[in-house]
């Protein structure tokens, strides 16, 4: 069977990233199995949970990024949420606690500022990703208000800042986005 080649000549592909991601995937699966076993065997605090979540953060960011919505708004929100979850895990599992109530709201409003910069600096394109941005803003307001009125929390300024910043960003978003938010919400919640 004579084949006339009618396609461009093949190119040597760099396999480095394929090999690296393959090794990392094996390492990740092994870590999920081995780390909890070592943790149980060695006893003590549940550090393996923090370690596995850390490896997951690297895996989901670099080795297996999202197949959809790999845009700056979604990705920044995802990273900020990952960092907050990581801090909560460290606070609950590895330390005596207490500092989390101070640090996490500060990181949260820092994250909200970062998300806002990412969103508004490319507004024309990012306005189509308005729903997650508005949701994170609303979440910040709710978290800030809960923190402000919670009796268990003594130092409250960071919650006040978080809530105030949330309200400011929310108002600015609504002014700029107007109907876009509701249109996007309709798309996101479509069940057809």
């Amino acid at each position: 069977m004579e084949i006339k080649v009618t396609y461009p000549p093949r190119k040597r592909r760099r396999k480095f990233w394929k090999v690296f991601s393959f090794i990392f995937n094996i390492f990740f699966v092994l870590a999920i199995i081995v780390l909890p076993l070592i943790n149980i065997w060695a006893g003590g605090k549940a550090w393996s949970v923090v370690a596995i979540f850390g490896i997951y953060m690297i895996w989901s960011t670099f080795i297996s990024p999202s197949l959809y919505e790999l845009n700056r708004t979604y990705q920044t929100i995802k990273q900020v949420l990952n960092v907050i979850i990581m801090l909560i895990l460290i606070n609950l599992l590895l330390t005596d606690g207490g500092w989390g109530l101070t640090v996490i709201p500060i990181v949260s409003f820092g994250g909200l500022i970062l998300c806002s910069i990412m969103f508004f600096s490319d507004f024309n394109r990012q306005k189509h990703n308005a729903v997650p941005f508005v949701l994170i803003t609303i979440s910040s307001i709710v978290a800030g208000i809960v923190g402000m009125f919670s009796d268990a929390i003594k130092v409250k300024w960071m919650f006040v800042v978080l809530a105030a910043l949330g309200v400011t960003v929310f108002v600015i978003s609504i002014i700029f986005l107007r109907k876009t938010v509701f249109k996007d919400l309709r798309k996101q919640l479509n069940t057809k």
Binding site: Y7, P8, R10, S66, L67, Y68, N124, H128
Partner: protein
């Protein structure tokens, strides 16, 4: 901005911003061309680019790129010996319509078939397919780019990006420059759709081949065929080879009909009957699966009349004959001696549902035969012909469509991550596993006479597979049938047996294709 420099004969004072802009600064080749023109022609160009600027209202950085495309096209016309007037006439800005002058405000829920394609997308599998025309002359990329810029407005439902909702993925319209790309060594590779505003199709060129590749969630073979025909006609017009108006090809400047992007699966009343989806496992071709998907493509070019004559000798039509040949080739490429060989065949539902939609409207049927019973070609041909007549009836296909609608309706309130997990798992159990090899037949593609003169042949290639080692597609244009095989293993048994079957039947087969691209 350019028309502010000269508007008719009346000079208008330049603003500070306009003074900074130097005509052709970003494109030295065009600037050289521009200064070589007389004052009158220079003014014509300035006016032309001024009007162009007004039409590219909504584009950001892509605005410069589209202007650059026009500049390159003008240089190309110049090199072809066209006068400036002729070039400007061919590049008439009314071809842009209002597509780039307004913000996109259009979204579509996915159709019932498109929903599943977005759900079983993973890093190594994406349901991409290609349709390609082979033209008489080598493609001129500068003019193809213009053809695409003009054609896309006729298909706004293809200028979409896939986005993630809470319950389903959906299509959101985008405004951008849709760039043509030079082909790589293998067709139907992944289309990157993750980034904001990503396109879900691409237009490629290589020598005299003009290809379009679509993510299947957007359209099926029929939609892609209409797009390819329209794009080719526009390209030929830009080469000053006008195509007379014909119902066989859409005009890129004609009105968009809402029915073209309707989800016509919904015309069939839903039923909770998943008939046709669950079947027993079929045998798979032997040979290790390649990492590159596909690792090779082959095209068997056969004279359509000869193929029909050979099929008629067996007393069947072309499809049962080719399907039987595929079954025999499968048998030769399978080591097991027990089990079924099953061929999956997409069915165009437009035969049963009155529709002009260019979105997905196809389901499938299958032919199945125990491997031990694949020995008499003649009788299997007749048996397959009978089975196809029995299976592809309005009653059965509409029942399947009703079942599909019912299934999607039942899942509608399930959060997307759960749907994705469920669909992917079910697909791996009941999807690829229950068939040995797909055979997708696009059928005869009719072209208007002016266009048929310029088109030498056509390809249709499928590009997704979890387990299949080979996928076969067919299409016919200008009296030549092309059977294309996408390979997912290095084992050559399948294609060699298929070739020999055709040769033994006295058919003259010309084989074209790609090299193996790794394993």
């Amino acid at each position: 901005m350019y028309n502010n420099l000269v508007m008719g004969d009346k000079k208008i004072k330049k603003t500070k911003k306009e003074k900074k802009i130097k005509f052709g600064k970003k494109n030295p080749k065009f600037y050289k061309y521009f200064i070589s023109l007389g004052v009158e022609d220079q003014n014509k160009l300035k006016k032309f680019f001024g009007e162009l600027d007004d039409r590219l209202y909504v584009l950001g950085s892509d605005r410069k790129k589209i202007k650059n495309d026009f500049e390159n096209a003008l240089i190309e016309y110049f090199s072809m010996g066209f006068s400036l007037d002729k070039a400007l006439e061919l590049l008439d800005l009314t071809n842009l319509g209002g597509f780039y002058s307004r913000n996109p405000d259009f979204w579509l829920p996915l159709d019932e078939v498109g929903k599943s394609y977005t759900q079983f997308l993973d890093r190594s599998n994406m349901a991409v397919f290609r349709e390609a025309f082979y033209l008489k002359d080598v493609i001129r990329p500068e003019l193809l780019q213009m053809a695409l810029t003009f054609t896309i407005k006729r298909f706004p439902y293809f200028a979409m990006s896939v986005k993630k909702g809470l319950f389903w993925h959906y299509l959101d319209s985008i405004r951008r420059r849709f760039a043509v790309e030079k082909e790589g060594p293998l067709p139907v590779q992944r289309i990157p759709i993750a980034v904001s505003g990503s396109k879900t199709f691409r237009v490629l060129y290589y020598q005299n081949r003009l290809s379009v590749e679509f993510f299947h969630c957007l359209t099926d073979g029929t939609g892609a065929k209409e797009f390819l025909k329209c794009l080719t006609a526009t390209y030929l017009k830009l080469l000053d080879k006008p195509i007379a108006p014909s119902p066989l090809v859409m005009d890129c400047n004609s009105m968009v009909d809402d029915a073209e992007f309707a989800n016509d699966f919904l015309k069939v009343k839903r039923k909770n009957n998943p008939a046709g989806y669950i079947n027993k496992r079929a045998l798979q071709l032997s040979g290790p699966l390649s990492k590159n998907r596909p690792c090779k493509v082959l095209h068997f070019r056969i004279n359509t009349q000869s193929l029909k004559d050979v099929a008629a000798k067996y007393g069947v039509g072309l499809t049962p004959y080719v399907t039987t040949a595929i079954m025999f080739a499968c048998k030769d490429a399978i080591d097991e001696i027990q089990g079924d060989v099953a061929i999956i065949m997409p069915v165009n539902m437009r035969k049963f549902i009155p529709s002009i939609t260019l979105r997905n409207l196809s389901l499938y049927t299958g032919l199945r035969s125990p491997i031990g019973e694949i020995h008499d070609f003649d009788s299997l041909c007749k048996e397959n012909s009978e089975k196809l007549k029995e299976n592809v009836t309005a009653e059965k296909m509409l029942a399947m469509a009703a079942g599909t609608n019912g299934l999607m309706n039942n899942m509608r309130f399930l959060p997307l991550p759960l749907k994705v997990f469920g669909t992917r798992t079910l697909y791996q159990i009941f999807g690829d596993n229950v068939f040995t090899c797909p055979f997708s037949n696009l059928g005869k593609v009719d072209l208007p006479e002016d266009m048929a003169k310029e088109v030498l042949g056509m390809d249709f290639i499928l590009g997704t597979s979890f387990f299949h080692r080979a996928q076969v597609t067919g299409c016919a244009v200008n009296g030549v049938t092309t059977l294309s095989i996408s390979k997912y293993t290095k084992d050559p048994s399948f294609e060699e047996r298929l070739y020999n079957i055709f040769k033994d039947d006295g058919l003259d087969v010309v084989v074209e294709g790609s090299e193996y691209n790794g394993n």
